[in-house]
């Protein structure tokens, strides 16, 4: 696991430390958990939005990569 230095405002650090005390864990563990949860929420949100968009997928004949090349300006 990599070790990093992070700059935080004093009041945010105080909240992180309070959370660590409350959970009986470390400052590093709290920050790992929060970062992981935030990134997971972001991925979940994207996945849900994609499911909604892809409900309307329709037939277009396939060959996506070839069509990308065929419609480029120098083609």
């Amino acid at each position: 696991m990599a070790k990093v230095m992070v700059s935080l405002p004093d009041d945010l650090l105080a909240e992180v430390d309070a959370e660590a005390r409350r959970g009986g864990t470390t400052r590093s563990a709290v920050m790992r958990e929060f970062a992981d949860a935030a990134l997971h929420r972001r991925r979940e949100s994207r996945a849900a939005a994609m499911r909604a968009l892809l409900k309307d997928a329709s037939p277009h004949g396939g060959h996506a990569a070839e069509l990308v090349k065929a419609t480029r300006p120098d083609s």
Binding site: R42, M50, A57, A64, A65, V68, T71, R72
Partner: protein
Amino acid sequence: MTSLLLDASVLLAAFDSEDDQHEPARALLEDDAVALATLDLARYEVANVAVRAWRAPDSAAPLLAAVERLADDSGVLSSSSALLARAVEIAEQHVISVYDAAYAAAANEAGRRLVSCDERDLVSKGLAVLPADAKPK
């Protein structure tokens, strides 16, 4: 965490139910266990295919919305002079277009695996993997 960069062909395959890579491409976009990004070039390429190849301009909006959802995830990387300089090197080395090489350069710069449906110019040269092979087994 698997971090991937998708080229335009993956987005297009996900929205085209007749594409050979439709199911794996769709599964990737709907997978909340991978972090996804793309390059700004994808905006032009998906819209171009919708309008000029599919003759379905209405399809451009959901494709562009999908690009924006990637922007909300791990981002839409910007083409820069430095990125294109690297793309030129890759294009020369692998005898591919600078467009294709730009995705490879972006993936390399971001430390991500490039995913593409382009077997001829990217997958066969080891620069990308197909959607079905994007996640570690």
